[in-house]
């Protein structure tokens, strides 16, 4: 039987659906997090070059991946909202931005904490580092633009255009290591090459990436629910829902 997707594209039904899904993702995120950390700290061996410092990789790389991935997802939903005038997808895009910005910040923070012991400096003006910084600015630009506009529908559309235009930055970040010869490490996980890392290390990283993925979904859903209520605060279903929640 085909699921009726249109049913869930109305904010009201999405609200309750999301409410049911959040616990699942929270639990999944916690499990993956614990497993990932266990592998990261207790299973993965010490790196013969970098010593224990490499253990930063278990947050650095997932954070860096999520920062780029979430931007694309955000731009995608924002674009859908712009093209088909669906309110829900724009709200999802708005909800993703802070989480994406947080991961970008974490990638920068952990990267520079890693850089100090490895490269001897907190920061270099290397292409990848710089473009990651630009990504942070893009997120902040998106959020400030939306914050500067009072009318939510207008904010959605304006943000969508900015997000779509900013997508060009993603390939630049991703390929920057190949385009410029720089300090930063190239991609060591790719589809056609065998991974160059110790397998346990790789597993730890991948599981941590899964954890951050689940976490992002959970946060996005939670924030979307709040945004839905904020925007629809005058509709009948919200006041009904509110009464129900008070009654409980």
């Amino acid at each position: 039987m085909a699921i009726n997707w249109f049913k869930y594209s109305s904010p009201a039904s999405f609200y309750s659906l999301a409410g049911k899904m959040i616990p699942i993702f929270v639990i999944a995120a916690t499990i993956f997090l614990i497993a990932g950390l266990y592998i990261g700290f207790f299973v993965a061996p010490t790196d013969f070059q970098q010593g224990e410092a490499y253990r930063i990789i278990f947050i650095h790389v997932p954070a860096a991946w999520m920062s780029m991935f979430l931007y694309v997802v955000m731009a995608f939903w924002a674009g859908i909202g712009l093209a088909f005038n669906t309110r829900l997808s724009s709200m999802v895009a708005t909800a993703i931005a802070p989480t994406g910005a947080m991961f970008t910040f974490l990638a920068l923070w952990t990267g520079s904490l890693w850089g100090k012991p490895m490269w001897g400096t907190w920061w270099v003006w290397d292409a990848r580092l710089t473009s990651e910084l630009i990504l942070l600015f893009l997120y902040i630009g998106f959020m400030s633009l939306q914050a500067a506009i009072d009318d939510p529908r207008r904010a959605d559309k304006a943000g969508a255009i900015l997000a779509l235009v900013g997508v060009i930055n993603i390939p630049i970040i991703y390929f920057s290591v190949q385009w410029w010869n720089t300090l930063h490490q190239g991609a060591s996980v790719s589809l056609n090459q065998s991974p160059t890392m110790a397998t346990t290390m790789l597993w730890g990283m991948l599981i941590m990436a899964l954890a951050s993925w689940m976490y992002s979904i959970a946060m996005t859903l939670m924030r979307t629910r709040v945004i839905i209520l904020e925007r629809e605060s005058h509709t009948a279903w919200v006041s009904e829902l509110h009464q129900k929640e008070i009654a409980r």
């Binding site: 700290f41 207790f42 993965a44 061996p45 010490t46 010593g51 224990e52 410092a53 253990r55 930063i56 947050i59 650095h60 954070a63 802070p98 989480t99 947080m102 910040f105 974490l106 923070w109 952990t110 904490l113 890693w114 100090k116 012991p117 976490y215 946060m219 939670m222 924030r223 629910r225 709040v226 209520l229 904020e230 605060s233 005058h234 919200v238 006041s239 509110h242 009464q243 929640e245 008070i246």
Partner: protein, 65 residues
């Protein structure tokens, strides 16, 4: 098992500041994000309560007058 003792674990082969600095900031960010969302929700529900009251009053006024 990689670690001999807790202090070994915390020193991270001399890189403790960097490794734990990273993990600490991650925890701060995650906790901060969750707290911000919950706070936003609480203020929203307060706001909804106000709206709810005012509409109820209006309805009452309309029925009495």
């Amino acid at each position: 098992m990689n670690w001999e003792s807790w202090s070994d674990f915390f020193s991270m082969g001399g890189y403790g500041v960097y490794v734990w600095g990273s993990y600490f900031m991650t925890i701060v960010c995650i906790a901060g994000e969750i707290i911000l969302i919950l706070k936003r929700r609480r203020t929203l529900h307060k706001h909804l309560g106000l709206i709810h009251e005012s509409t109820e009053k209006e309805i009452k006024n309309e029925t009495t007058s």
